[in-house]
Amino acid sequence: MKIFKKEKDVVGLALGYLDVVDQCVRTAGQAVILYLNGDRPGAAALQPKVSELESQADEIRRCIGDKLYSGAYLPLMRGDIYSIIDSLDHVPNAAEACCNFFTSQTPDIPDDFVAAYLETSRASFGIITELSEVVTSFFKPKGKIDAIREHAKGVGTQESAVDGMEWETTVRIFECPTIDLAHKIHLKTALDRIGHISDRAEDAAEYIELVAMKSIL
């Protein structure tokens, strides 16, 4: 049936896009965790794959734009869908930037801080699981507004947890007398890079929730 074919194509592309974003974020997370566990060559080996997945996500994003431009959905919803994809795109970008930071700038994480960095990384990169649920609930026909809201809330909670870890580790870094200021700033930058992923994920989840709420009368 050709009715709503363009719309079905957009949904297919959006779910495919989510799949690539998910892989990109998980691979970047894997690289950072390998790095934190001392396997720097292993992390560096994953970096090209992260970049490739990020480029692939960009490619699909452009296809979605073209499909929307061809007239899928009402103009109002068209703009919203494009903005959703655009806000999601910041997540793999942040993941790639974080992976690049660790593999290119090779920050020296003191042994006392490795556990905290690992915990923060797992929570921040792991937010993609909950974000994927938000996106799936929005694009899959059986997805309901309540499910979108519930998972968006989950993303928010996880982001707050990452923020808390980030804050705690930042305070510890700057209280440590054995680390010089330049090193402290580098460590803080590394922490910020990790935290950006959950920040962008929260932005995307909130935007999707907003678009979903607009459909409630």
């Binding site: 709503f4 009402l74 103009p75 109002l76 919803m77 609930s137 929005f138 694009f139 026909p141 009368l217």
Partner: protein, 348 residues
């Protein structure tokens, strides 16, 4: 003027009124759809044209009959005279052919048409239904003077009551429908809901167009039915085509203007308002009562607004409806009366 010439002039006048109605009321039917860019203006106007013609041909005869022969008593058949209440004494003097004189039909049509055109250009919202009822009553007054015996007062009262009831009924319907839609929307995926609404808005636009045809074709060519009582379906077709032409040729400006007043509602609200107005107008069309599509839409928009609380309803919109009830028919009647008197003076 030869009979053929008079026939042509009357048909052109009827077409002019239909064209006017189509141009003015296009916004009520397709404003939301064009505003939300569900369909382009041209496609929407074509859809409207088809359904206006269908509405007019299939169900336009009810209102046509009321406007054409239900307001002024022109023959003994219409009087239901009894010994206690005989037919008006000078019935044959005023209406020797047992129907409205050609010149009266022409004045009723032209005055209603000009009145609406004038109102459109000065951006005063008026109802074409009220203008034509006012126009017919005005020429009636021009012929018989202030003599209630020549008017079907009960029919006029029914029409005036319907003008008050129609927007209120549409408001109630829209309120209930919007609430229902709200519950449905919560259970659906936002993207599926958006798709569903785009289809529903098209269906509602088609239905309002059908209702407009059923109601306003009678307004456009009702007075002509008095002269050509056996040509109802053809007159209805002509009225429908005239309205469709009006929508296509001159409807865009009004659609853009009025569309903006409706589309600030969400698409669901616009659908609820249009469908409710369609139901309201259709119902009165079946009862043979000419009502205002514009006022039905405004009433329905108020109904949707009330779901957000009384403060969401603009007092200006309510006063606009109330002013419309009074000024549109009275001014159209006065206009028709004066024009008819002026023509009589000129002819004599």
């Amino acid at each position: 003027m030869t009979p053929l010439m008079m026939t042509i002039v009357l048909l052109v006048a009827g077409f002019y009124v239909g064209w006017n109605i189509g141009a003015n009321d296009a916004a009520n039917c397709i404003g939301t759809m064009v505003g939300a860019r569900v369909l382009s203006f041209r496609k929407a106007a074509l859809l409207m044209g088809v359904f206006v013609i269908l509405g007019g041909v299939l169900q336009g005869h009810h209102v046509m009959k009321t406007v054409g022969s239900g307001i002024i008593i022109t023959s003994e058949d219409q009087t239901q005279a009894t010994p206690e209440k005989p037919a008006p004494v000078r019935l044959h003097d005023h209406f020797p052919d047992g129907r409205l004189p050609d010149i009266a039909i022409l004045v009723a049509l032209i005055s209603a048409g000009l009145f609406v055109t004038l109102a459109t250009f000065t951006k005063v919202p008026v109802s074409t239904s009220q203008a034509i009822v006012g126009g017919v009553t005005g020429v009636g007054l021009g012929i018989v003077g202030l003599d209630a015996d020549y008017f079907r007062v009960s029919v006029l009262m029914k029409i005036v009551s319907a003008w008050v009831i129609s927007p209120a009924l549409c408001a109630v319907l829209a309120f209930a429908l919007y609430r229902l839609l709200g519950n449905v929307a919560r259970q659906m995926n936002p993207l599926i809901w958006s798709r569903t609404l785009s289809v529903l808005v098209i269906v509602a636009a088609a239905y309002v167009s059908f209702s407009l045809g059923a109601n306003d074709v009678g307004n456009a060519i009702g007075p002509l039915l008095s002269k050509y009582p056996t040509h109802g379906p053809w007159l209805a077709l002509m009225g429908g085509v005239a309205m469709a032409t009006g929508a296509l040729t001159f409807g865009q400006r009004v659609t853009d203007t009025v569309g903006k007043n409706i589309t600030p509602l969400d698409l669901g609200g616009a659908f609820a308002a249009q469908l409710s107005a369609g139901v309201g107008v259709h119902l009165f069309s079946l009862l043979g009562i000419p009502v205002s599509t514009s006022q039905a839409i405004v009433g329905a928009v108020i109904g949707v607004g009330l779901t957000k609380g009384a403060q969401a309803v603009s007092g200006k919109k309510i006063s606009m409806i109330v002013a419309g009830w009074v000024f549109s028919p009275v001014l159209a009647a006065l206009y028709a009366y004066l024009t008819y008197q002026g023509i009589l003076t000129l002819l004599n």
